[in-house]
Symmetry: C2
């Protein structure tokens, strides 16, 4: 029976935010710059409400300026793009984030591509997507895949977790076989590029994949990002696999209330996986921490890039 390490994303993110706060304070003192993050919300999607509130709160906590634009859902695409351009020109704003989903009459790609790539802290602008796709260093990497990679690198950088047959001098994840479940533009696809860059062998599975459990069985790293509650079972795993659960699904709880679960059946993985992220408290907190990290980077770039 393997003892499964629970990867504490909450603690990791807290530490990261602490470091960001120190760097923000230094940037203020030494260069007189306060990093600013603008979040644009269109309409009143209730899920976005909670998410934006958390972003605003944490942005302020690390000492950054938070700008929140709430726009009516009737806004036209051109009016929304004009708002984005205003923020592009605003020197107090270093990062711009357009909260998705947008109303149906607005083309999200066009709006996102209006953001100055140097302020695109979500990493979804065409310039940053293409940079990642050709293995160059884009200005910004999307926050959730970036958070997953940080947790993985942190885990495998520990010599105790380092596979025995690893070639010295290689990157920490080199040669490991990762399977990504889900091929979204927000998580799965950027994750392919990030893991290839770390010299992983990568398999991408999705709703049309046959025998997914047999594929998972071979993987050293499992990234679950399909948005279906607890579909990945412990018995699918290779013994000693490291599991990163990106899913956040709200399901009915036996007590009549609801609860949050991931895409992985957490309990069934204990004793089989070498390490696993819980839900909540795993990947989730990393996303906003990485957004703040990107915003800090954007603000620093106005000085040194």
């Amino acid at each position: 029976m393997t003892e499964t390490k629970i990867i504490d994303g909450k603690a990791f993110a807290e530490k990261l935010r602490g470091e960001i706060a120190r760097k923000v304070a230094k940037l203020k003192t030494e260069k007189g710059i306060t990093p600013g993050l603008a979040v644009i919300r269109v309409g009143d999607d209730p899920a976005s409400e909670v998410y934006v509130r958390n972003k605003v709160k944490q942005t302020k906590e690390v000492g950054m300026n938070s700008f929140e634009l709430r726009l009516p859902k009737e806004i036209t695409e051109e009016e929304l793009r004009a708002k984005v351009r205003e923020l592009n020109d605003d020197k107090t704003v270093h990062g711009i984030l357009v909260q998705l989903p947008l109303p149906e009459h607005i083309d999200g790609f066009i709006v996102i591509d209006t953001i100055d790539p140097h302020k695109d802290v979500d990493g979804f602008n065409i310039i940053n997507v293409a940079g990642l796709a050709v293995g160059e260093d884009p200005y910004f990497i999307p926050c959730t895949p970036m958070g997953c990679l940080m947790l993985l690198k942190n885990y495998f950088q520990n010599p105790n977790n380092y596979p025995k047959d690893k070639v010295p001098g290689q990157k920490p994840l080199a040669g490991l076989h990762a399977i990504i479940l889900g091929r979204s533009n927000i998580v799965g696809k950027p994750m392919i590029q990030l893991l290839l860059k770390e010299d992983c062998t990568v398999t991408i599975a999705h709703s049309k994949t046959a025998n997914v459990s047999l594929l998972v069985k071979q993987a050293d790293i499992v990234i679950a990002a399909v948005g279906r509650p607890e579909i990945v079972k412990g018995e699918w795993l290779k013994k000693g696999a490291v599991v990163i659960d990106v899913g956040i699904n709200r399901i009915a709880s036996p007590d009549g209330k609801t609860k949050l679960v991931g895409d992985v059946d957490f309990q069934s993985c204990l004793g089989i996986a070498a390490a696993i992220t819980p839900v909540p408290g795993g990947v989730g907190p990393m996303t906003i921490a990485c957004l703040l990290e990107n915003t800090l980077r954007a603000a620093k770039c106005t000085v040194v890039c």
Copy 2:
């Protein structure tokens, strides 16, 4: 013993060029437009010499205008970009191709990104790379992966080659497991996106991959694009796999001359693979045919897009 079908890329490309020639003639008669392809060569790399000569010859054969710019290897990046901009503005030029590799003092990415994305028939411009990376339809898909996909779709569209457990109504490659050997920006990485779009499960292996033969053993489709002569062996294959060999390697022949071989040990695959592309005469001829297809598309777009 499986009888292995030899996928005749030469014949397929010839047929495709025939169709292109007919469409070019129609475009001339009906719209007065002759598609034009400009090829820029910098310096005098001898491998490029042969390749460009073939492109020019085939461009003319299908009735298109061929423009060839030979520039000295001392040209500066800015001078080269100025030439590209001239071609961007030239209404008789519908496709622009900058022959790689470029001299070391020139940043290839910057030059390629200077090409108008609507004329980027090689599909390497940042706008087209990003389009493919997010699963949108880019203006152009890189020619070699496009040729590989055409051969695969043509093979699996034949009901006799259709896997028995295929779900009716799905795309012809849906659910098949493809392994791509090699992660280059020219072949491997765009191939990932194209195969994902066809609903394949995709594995990418490369020089850091452990146990590559065990991974190949599970794949229904093997795309070899690593540039190492005959490293993929028949014994690695699953019985009935379809093998697409992108490699073109010149090696010493027993008679003291040289010969061209692929990345796959062709003879050893016979009787195991269901189908395989030979080298030469497999993927190679498809690349230029797809370049002409892209140029035709670019010229048509000046009328209808």
